[in-house]
Symmetry: C2
Subunit: 238 residues, 2 copies
DNA sequence: TCGGGCAATTGGTCTGACAACCTGTTGACT
DNA sequence: AGTCAACAGGTTGTCAGACCAATTGCCCGA
């Protein structure tokens, strides 16, 4: 029998890594809150009993993670990551072949679908107003692909906010970002944008009608269309 | 009208930041692929015309982002994480109040449910063997809460791998990590662990039977149970 | 009172050194 | 000839101390 036996490599951790975890612990435990200023590098080095380069490595990592902000001459502060903005990081790594694109949209269909359903379930009147505005904004930017993409992102974000689930929102945002790398091609075609707008209208209608399942279906169809046009554009450009 | 007029602070970027972007560019452009070995720190320092500490700060950041793996004495490699491991970063930011716990499990139910369904749809025989092994491992660790949590995580990871969707896997992992912060309390109760194991057995049975919808339901129920026990434990400890 | 300039503080970078670790090779022993 | 231990070279990990650059705030002079 093939033992699972997950023998871990026993890696003795970096001192810098330990310090990262330690500081992260402070943030988690609430001992460090958003906007708080950290001690200076020299003080941190002294308190942790390590050298300044080591401290700097730890801070560099935390900065990359978006947990702290470093100001030359000014000090180091805990970022105000009220809810969203993390997760920017993974915008890279687009070695994505077509297989992966399928998987990406499999995930998007699920998550965006749920978001649409939740939004339909608990939409507030003013939310609906916003969505309508965004639709007209999209109609007005059919000629400008870059602008359309921007408004499109706002549209999906708005819907995600209506779903009132920060976790789904977060996941949806990152998947959207990843998808956007591919859509540059497709979105240059006017007919594609027009089709997208039509999809959005159907979604809004379902949300307005407070029909969760209809909304989910509409969103799933939309994702399907986006995937299809993305693939066609990719094939053509080959 | 309030002009946006985004006057940027003209921040001259860190040299380390520049190097991070540069290396990231290589990865994006395909000049550096998964598993590739980077030049040594000294060589990098020389080529970029900077000192080694600066290079180390850049590498530390990339390591935190999960883009590279650094082995003491061994070298630096581009992570192979075909698609997955980014996004780890946002494991923190757990300001989670009880409202948020509900939302967290709303998201988990959706994503883990889909994973279970996909796994049931395309399970391979050896995968089923692994799952069985994990079940017995869990049965054996009912007395040790910490160990049980570890095996539990492996169980969910395994299922996620079977779903063959790196994006869902990634999302599920981070949600699981977030959830774990709360489960420390609940998982100290033996009866809770036993209940969890029973849930797992039902899930595996559904996967083995190749019944996607049954698996989804079983997983959703499991999530529901986890949420319930987590809440009860939290209430008791108040 | 206001304004400019100086000085302290803080982050940014460099140099050079040594320790800990991994790997392949060499050499001795069986 | 085959095995295995010790060694050498390269690599990351950490440290110390120094100096540069940006920010801040105090202090003094107008």
């Amino acid at each position: 029998m093939a033992e699972t036996l997950a023998i871990e490599p026993i890696q003795r951790e970096n001192v810098a890594t330990i310090i990262v975890d330690r500081l992260l612990g402070f943030v988690k435990a609430g001992k460090l809150n958003s906007g708080d200023r950290l001690p200076s590098e020299r003080q941190l080095a002294e308190r942790f009993g390590v050298s300044r380069p080591t401290i700097r490595e730890a801070l560099s990592a935390l900065s990359a993670l978006g947990v702290v902000e470093i100001n030359h001459g000014g000090g180091i502060f805990v970022s105000r990551l009220d809810a969203t903005d993390l997760l920017q990081p993974l915008t890279f790594f687009l070695t994505l072949e077509s297989v992966t694109v399928d998987k990406l949209y499999e995930a998007r269909r699920l998550i965006e679908g749920e978001i649409a359903a939740l939004a339909a379930h608990q939409a507030m009147p003013e939310d609906l107003g916003h969505l309508e505005e965004l639709l007209t904004a999209q109609a007005g930017s059919l000629g400008d692909a870059a602008e359309y993409r921007t408004v499109d992102t706002i549209f999906h974000d708005r819907l995600a906010m209506m779903a009132t689930n920060p976790f789904l929102m977060r996941a949806a945002q990152s998947l959207n970002m990843l998808g956007q790398e591919f859509r540059h091609l497709a979105s240059e075609t006017p007919s594609v944008l027009a089709g997208s707008l039509e999809d959005h209208k159907v979604i809004v209608a379902a949300v307005r009608a407070a029909e969760p399942e209809l909304a989910r279906k509409a969103m799933a169809d939309h994702m399907e269309n986006v995937l299809r046009t993305t693939r066609e554009a990719a094939r053509k450009s080959k």
